[in-house]
């Protein structure tokens, strides 16, 4: 038995990345899901985006509607991929994988956060798809390294946030059928009560309040600020990051408390 002393924090970070590695190795053997997932943002940008752009119904100020919606669609596809991530956990529970991980000395929060990060890295392919389509549609993108780095970070953090939220739901409902139901119910309100496809300024007052409590709104704002050339943030990039990071930390802590319930 290995008895070497490992500092808790180093141990936690290491274990988190081992769990991320575990998830990403699966992707290496089968990456068809990355291809099928590319379809959804393509439909939203090419069909929905083009049609509404022509209609001239959306008032997005100086920014053309297609430019406005591109970061929103990226945020949306991050949300859609991440929110159903919890189903994997239920699948792993029906097998004995969750039990085996929980019987190992791995910190619970590392199990949860590691899975979250892997969801984050998986969704980076969606960013590549949205960038390619935006280029095709003539969206004015900001290609500076700092902007790209910010988009990279926001996508990973946002996917970690929503996949951890999804994991919490999985820990509560525990069955695939119930999970799918709850997942469907949550996705659309999160999406529509955000600034992804229309500005919050045209929302009725009550919806505007809800949208300001919705972390997706801050993800979209952060992405819009960094992706588009010459775009300004509604809340400030610092606030966007703060809301995303604090929400993620809270969710990871809740997830770490609930995750062991899957083994019972």
């Amino acid at each position: 038995m290995a008895t070497t002393f490992i500092h808790p924090l180093t141990g936690f970070v290491e274990k988190t990345f081992v769990i991320t590695e575990f998830e990403l190795r699966k992707l290496r053997h089968d990456f068809t899901e990355l291809v099928t997932r590319a379809l959804q943002p393509a439909l939203w940008l090419l069909v929905f985006g083009q049609v509404f752009s022509r209609s001239g119904m959306m008032h997005t100020g100086n920014v053309p509607y297609l430019d406005f919606i591109a970061p929103g669609i990226l945020a949306q596809s991050v949300l859609f991929v991440a929110i159903f991530y919890g189903i994997n956990v239920i699948w792993e529970r029906d097998l004995g994988i969750v039990q085996k991980f929980l019987a190992s000395p791995t910190p619970r929060a590392a199990l949860v956060l590691g899975k979250g990060f892997s969801a984050g890295i998986r969704t980076l392919s969606q960013a590549a798809v949205v960038y390619a389509l935006s280029l095709l549609l003539g969206v004015k993108l900001d290609w500076s390294p700092l902007a790209l780095l910010n988009v990279f970070l926001i996508v990973i953090l946002a996917a970690t946030l929503f996949s951890t939220f999804s994991l919490i739901i999985a820990c509560i409902v525990k069955t695939r059928e119930r999970f799918m139901g709850v997942g469907q119910v949550l996705t659309m309100p999160l999406f529509f009560a955000s600034n992804a496809i229309y500005p919050t300024t045209i929302m009725p007052g009550w919806l505007k309040v809800i949208s300001h409590l919705n972390p997706l709104t801050y993800v979209v704002d952060g992405l819009r600020t960094c992706m588009l050339s010459g775009s300004t943030s509604s809340f400030g990039l610092g606030i966007d990051y703060a809301v995303i990071i604090v929400t993620t930390i809270i969710l990871v802590l809740i997830g770490a408390r609930l995750y062991p319930h899957l083994a019972t």
Binding site: M1, F22, G96, Q99, K100, S104, P105, A263
Partner: protein, 267 residues
């Protein structure tokens, strides 16, 4: 006196009004092969879940490898290996990758990881299959990989919940051959549950029979066979005497469907 690695004192688990494990007291010596028998729903899996720290006890206490399951859970986890009844390796990874992840999770020194994985694959007769995806493995190979994965860190106690469920007799023999070797080479204590009485009879040093959450009988096969009085009885007769017939209990819908799903995946 032998070194005691498992010490259960009035270990109890209740789910609402239902008592799944009722004041279980027993101890297991280092290097012993200990079988926990009982019909479905007798409390065997709940007992293993408490000893592997997956489920907190409602009352009572247990020490595993000298550590308390309630106060020193992480130390317990470092000292044990666990092979759940359901399939616990990932089919979308290779055998090697499944072992690599656990070598890292159990903090095996980086320089030793490769040698330890090679040795584990060799020990379980899986060297040629290490690079193949686990989804292409046979049921017996999956179980052997799971045992390799759970013993990479050389645990003092290995818990196995129905290790041979769903396997054909040849695969079952192969699994047992490796488990026996594991004990012989590393002195690993084996604590397992099974429905197969002949397995318990041929491999266990001692057997405990549980019924409705309680310990009904405990001893070597010989002791149990003579315990009923009136001459020797078969283990099967002893089992029916203590555990009743399977029809009387039978476990929950979830227990039964989990067991069948495992058998289907491995078979």
């Amino acid at each position: 006196m032998s070194d005691i690695v498992l010490d259960l004192q009035k270990l109890t688990r209740r789910f609402g009004n239902f008592t799944a494990v009722d004041s279980l007291t027993l101890s297991v010596n280092a290097g012993e092969v200990f079988g926990l028998l009982g019909s479905n729903g007798a409390g065997k899996t709940t007992t293993i879940k408490m000893l592997t720290t997956l489920l907190p006890p409602s009352s009572g206490e247990a020490r595993v490898a000298g550590f308390s399951i309630t106060d020193q859970a992480v130390d317990v986890r470092r000292s044990i290996g666990y092979v759940p009844q359901a399939v616990s390796v990932d089919g979308s990874l290779t055998g090697y990758e499944n072992l690599l992840i656990f070598a890292k999770l159990y903090d095996l020194p980086r320089g030793e990881q490769q040698a330890r994985i090679r040795e584990a694959l060799e020990f379980m007769d899986l060297t040629a299959e290490g690079g193949r995806l686990v989804s292409q493995y046979s049921g017996g190979m999956v179980r052997r990989l799971e045992i390799a994965q759970s013993t990479l860190h050389r645990p003092r106690v290995l818990f196995l919940d129905e290790p041979t469920v769903g396997l054909d007799p040849i695969a079952r023999d192969a699994v047992w051959k490796h488990l026996v070797d594991l004990r012989a080479n590393y002195g690993t204590t084996l604590f397992f549950t099974t429905h197969y009485l002949e397995e318990a009879e041929s491999h266990c040093d001692r057997i405990a029979i549980m019924h409705l959450g309680q310990l009904d009988a405990l001893g070597t096969t010989k002791e149990l066979e003579t315990s009923l009085g009136g001459g020797a009885h078969t283990l099967s007769e002893v089992f029916v005497h203590y555990a009743g017939t399977a029809l009387e209990s039978g476990g929950t819908f979830r227990d039964v469907s989990a067991e069948r799903a495992t058998a289907q995946r491995l078979g």
